[in-house]
Symmetry: D2
Subunit: 306 residues, 4 copies
């Protein structure tokens, strides 16, 4: 009897014939150090990494995935990378190198990201956002590897409902008919407002780069108002007024967000796919309201006449 | 060599001398059928059940906990119980019966609960709430079993901030000085409003009973406004107006809630402990704001002069 | 000044030209009563319902979505439906009826589902599963409505790793060379085993029906072993032995699951899409391992030679 | 009409007489830079900060809480602190300084923490843990501030069940009676094993310090085995063997953990409260099994004869 270990993964499967689209690790947490223009940032990232599996092989060598993450991600503690997205691309490429039997490799990553912001210079504070990155490496029959990437962010802000504003106005006109008409045309009306989470993600089939702080700024400009950790009494009023002067349905958030992309990201190619989605955690309902859209930057430019 | 099974649980522990406060099951999901005055309700309950463990015993017989749940909870499909809380009490008592070595048994349960509600008769719809119940059975040295119980609920509603209302009023007076003073004294002012989750729980050391729909109604009356699944255009305005006419800090929600308890639950004994807590998912911040308090109904009656 | 309310939703959007793929409600919870062959079951369902929005319209009439849910879902308390899936289909169709401007309606639903099971007749208990259903209604230019549906379930079971089994065997042979070779060829070897969640979902473009308890049985047969709430001492051994005699990678779970579908669902058409996915919450790692595949039943039948 | 803003918070409450135990912020996320002996670590922390509120005051000045967090926590990006716990203590003290009306301040914090570990020197990788810290500052009538602190961690590891091991042994003896008795006395037997989460927290009423990596090492020593991100084929076998040679109930994990504390933390005072809790995500059940205990280090020393 020999004690040599069988390589069970490399054996043929009991129920063969089936290639599997994806086999990998999920929920794996890692610190990633990113060198930003002005500072180093440590992200706590949740990764999902996977490759396809041919029909003649029982198992995927999953320990290689953990090794790749250790080599590429853990190493950033001493050698920071440019971005979460560049780490994902490097991981996707390396997955194909070490899984010689695979032709498709996927990496998904999300991480919390803090930006120093504030309603004024003296009231800066770290606000938290979510970074999103994906990379897919595809091995072509000729051995070339194609890379598809997605980069984006989610920001929490505020929406104020334009519809309830009108119904409140109509109700108040009835209740207080003596007030000047100017009251109702100039004063911002009460409405329901709420926490809103909005995502903007770009999908690239080329080497385009994007500045993530610009993505976050673009999202916050499309909400009724950004939100802040530090708001003294007068500041609260400014945010509330700002939100009520920019009332938005979730539909408006997605459309305004998409409509602002061509001017804010002028150099990206027409082939870029743009995904926008938003969720308002309605204050007048126990459920959420959401909207989503996806189109190419070319379609977007044509639709906006840009 | 004998094949008879050792009862590993009953053996002495490797590191003895330590009684353990609590050993049990958590995250166990069960359907519980409750007979309400007018209808049967099926609750999907999450249970936590545990007993203490004496120092001379290695393990708790946990399969008994699962058997007790099957016997008491699963059986309600054919023989409904009165309430989630009565099921918890029965389970706590039975835990002491079957764990003869234990002197302390705990049961915690939470369940989603639907009530048909609406802003008007024609717009009724099921709204979702959370029921909370706890039971603790303590075996006294003389063999008597004492029972402590907690019963309560959580309701999602809406709060509108009274402070931002004042700062907005002050700002608008400056911006629109020509409007009549009456405008600012009579018109409800804009503010931030948000989803609010509030809990009210009663702890009993006697056999007091409480009507859970009354607990939910008490909570909703203490928020700036309840919320509803179905709101047509005019209804939205009514909810928004209602909330802005009852602006509340989280502090107000807890105090108003507690202050309303003596009148709404007149028959409960002074020894009843009342726990109130509330969380507002602030629309102008990315974080939540919360308040909590706990006191006896006797203290509450004296403080409110009731 | 008139107090008549503007219909803000029907106004043109500020940033027009963009049709939106999806606008709707999410996280809306409802009780749904289903008439099963032998009993009534109350499901607590989480719904997501949405329609597309043409470019000339500012907002979607979201209150109609809540009304449809109230009418179709709340009504099952007195008039049960056949299945979660049939409720989703009815909702999707009704979304198109009430949103005359929409051509695409989506419904997603998930619900906890309890089945009475046990390792033996006397140890039956409710085990919890997750039901999954989706419906998409598409309005064709000629006015006809096409319906696509997905129906499936998730079951929690157990997997035991076939690879660690071999490495443990090899190690033990080295440590205990005096033991008979038969020991190592006949005795089930130690390995890591863990909680596993597996999903099987069918996508139909026709009126095919499926029995959900059969879907759950199919999943449980593909795991190393099902798991049970009540296991007395000897039963635990049976489940552990069963799992160690059917050691499976996540790859094996997906392949065995898919391979079993043709025989277990012989009447479904070749055009049915079959989605299988599995997640093992690894006991020897802090992360999960997962596998997924998707193919038509026709492809599956050809690959398995069925 | 004056535009000066009312200080709504400082007004008396509508329903007075009630002091509130706790009013504050929760779910506030912040990056905290900690200087460890050998490296800087950036933690992403979730804070809860609150103070009590006297009965004559309507609201707590919550913006001060956000300012304190910005000043103490955000500042660590340029001036790292010693530990999460020292930041909590500083925040608790400052809460009392800025809320002059309060006499009780609470801070709770949890953060993910990465440690470079591995089954061998060449297979090091970042493993993730959770840090826990609490601080409570109490203002005495004489103006002195007392500080209570709690510090601890949670680690994910593996448990193997000692009971199923015996029942499997008994079953296999019956099935394979021809195998030598030595087989069953020497070979580690199969059992169910699973992901286990264990916490150890120390509560101090003095200025005691504790090394958090030592807390984590203490927890991992009490589980059946630690777990690792990178395990090549042979390593998996080592971890599995290690776990099966240290089979543990949740009861054993808590007792072994507590029993090891006196020797591992010899300098802490007897008044230290020690809290231990553990959750095993059972592979043979859909629910979890848990155990918890809490006692003073003095009691622990006496019970263990140390």
């Amino acid at each position: 009897m020999t004690s040599s270990m069988r390589d069970v993964h490399a054996e043929p499967p009991a129920h063969g014939n089936l290639r599997l689209r994806s086999v990998g690790l999920s929920g794996i947490r890692k610190p990633l150090v990113v060198q930003r223009p002005e500072r180093q940032v440590t992200l706590a990232v949740t990764f999902r990494v996977a490759v396809d599996l041919p029909s003649d092989r029982k198992g995927s060598d999953l320990s290689r995935n953990a090794e790749i993450l250790a080599e590429i991600v853990d190493a950033t503690v001493t050698r920071p990378v440019d971005s979460l997205e560049s780490a994902c691309s490097a991981i996707a490429r390396e997955l194909l190198v070490r899984h010689g039997y695979a032709s498709d490799a996927f990496v998904e990553a999300s991480a919390e990201y803090f930006l120093n912001k504030g309603i004024s210079e003296e009231k800066q504070s770290f606000e938290d956002y979510t970074l999103l990155a994906e990379a897919r490496a595809v091995r072509r029959p000729d051995g070339r590897v194609l890379l598809e990437r997605a980069v984006g962010a989610e920001a929490v802000g505020m929406t104020a409902c334009p519809c309830a504003m009108e119904t409140c106005r109509a109700e108040l006109v009835k209740e207080y008919p003596a007030l000047a008409e100017e009251t109702y045309t100039s004063l911002p009306m009460i409405t329901h407002n709420q926490r809103n989470r909005t995502r903007l993600v770009f999908e690239f089939d080329d080497a385009s780069e994007i500045e993530i702080d610009q993505v976050i700024a673009t999202i916050e400009a499309a909400q009724s108002s950004p939100t802040y950790a530090i708001l003294k009494r007068g500041d609260e009023g400014r945010v509330v007024l700002d939100a009520h002067r920019h009332p938005k349905f979730v539909e408006d958030v997605v459309r305004d967000l998409l409509a602002s992309v061509p001017a804010r990201f002028p150099t990206l190619p027409d082939s870029t796919l743009v995904r926008a989605s938003t969720v308002s955690e309605e204050s007048i309902h126990k459920y959420n309201v959401e909207a989503t859209h996806r189109l190419t930057l070319g379609e977007l430019r044509r639709s906006s006449g840009a």
